[in-house]
Symmetry: C2
Subunit: 247 residues, 2 copies
């Protein structure tokens, strides 16, 4: 049975004892049903991945002892994905799949035709964390607080390439676009599309690169994942992760 | 407002009058709230896409009159995706996204580690139909009845290439694999993976091509979509659809 992975932000070092409390303790105890002596793989972006063992189970906490390093921290570079909030269930899928596919930062942007209230930050962060635990990442991509599209455009470095799905079908093929602009960010609009003045504004962004994501109009979450798979396909050297040593 | 698309298996020809009954009639009347005189785009794989108008609303039916051809039937070739059934919500997501990404046939196969009962055929077919309506396909991919993996392997043409995700990471890169084997089928295993004897059996299939789907182990539904995006990226000429004429 696979050893459960657990993202813990605390400092991980041999011999350290950590207490896991709250929802996470509940998850370990009542969902995963871990007992004293069971192993867990604790990880975070700064310290890497460590074998740990359950040392004690209290009423509202689980105590772990960190044993030994399994794999050191390595950077996990990836694209930033900016996206207009979509309906909750689709948004949760998007976050989970984007994490699986190596996204490095998630940026909710409010557009004119965004009809959905942004999801609670805690919930999205929990989904991102769980997805990272499941897919063996060391990093959990941060999720920015939502902000209006113009504010995000004003705040970002304008010369950084920005992939924008071109609904006229005239954009660059996505894999080719990634080859030419390996450091690009991705912007996915709402289900209703961008308003004409937004499109005009976006096309004027110095680094904007219209891209085509296949022959069909895709749902927002599908478009986001298409762009990320395109990145993985185009950039295998960057997307490679260090394999874990066996425990 | 976008004219709703409706997959109707009946013969579509100028002047024909069709009655839509049952769930579909309910959908048109109470969900889409169509009224007499409202347009609909009726389509199927054999007759293409036609502008139609609501002519009458009965208690349990909606009558449509077919007006004129918008675009003729064209083949929409695409891969066959064989997959072990997964949990319902993930499966429904897989079907929807696979249709968006151009899958031509869906084949549920029961493997040794399949823990989920196959979903009801009607429900999956409805999801595939709705996804095809939303993404402007003319074809709705058929969904085979589920059958055991050995039975499917025995029934399929053994020399047709079969992409199998190689968990050792030694497979061909997916885009390259599609270039070499444009007519390949895809096989995605259950969440628990294939049993050792199944892996052995699969590797002996003459047309099998181990492929790699990025650096991480992906969930089954993500792997399926990764393979399909790979196909779209590699084969733009095959994946292109005929654009609809405006109505």
């Amino acid at each position: 049975m696979t050893v459960p992975r657990l993202h813990l932000p605390e400092r991980l070092a041999a011999g350290a004892t950590l207490a896991v409390v709250g929802d996470r303790a509940h998850y370990l105890r009542h969902v995963l049903r871990l007992k004293e002596g069971d192993p867990v793989h604790a990880f975070n972006a700064g310290d890497g991945e460590w074998r740990a063992v359950i040392k004690g189970i209290g009423r509202h906490e689980m105590r772990l002892e960190i044993e030994r390093l399994l794999r050191p921290a390595v950077p996990e570079p990836g694209p930033t994905l900016a996206f207009a909030p979509i309906r909750r269930n689709r948004l949760e899928w998007l976050v989970e799949k984007a994490v699986e596919l190596g996204v490095a930062r998630l940026v909710p942007v409010i557009t004119q035709r965004t009809v959905v209230k942004p999801e609670k930050a805690d919930r999205l962060a929990a989904i991102a964390t769980e997805a990272a635990e499941q897919c063996e990442r060391l990093t959990v991509p941060p999720i920015d607080p939502p902000r209006p599209l113009p504010a995000w455009l004003a705040a970002r470095a304008p010369a950084v390439p920005l992939f924008l799905a071109d609904e006229r079908g005239e954009g660059a093929a996505i894999a080719e676009a990634w080859h030419r602009h390996p450091d690009a960010e991705i912007l996915i609009g709402p289900e209703g599309g961008f308003a004409p003045e937004e499109v005009e504004r976006l096309r004027a962004v110095p680094g904007v690169v219209p891209v085509t994501l296949g022959p069909r109009i895709l749902r927002a979450e599908t478009a986001a994942l298409y762009a990320l798979v395109g990145w993985q396909i185009a950039r295998p050297a960057l997307a490679r992760i260090s394999p874990p040593t066996s425990s």
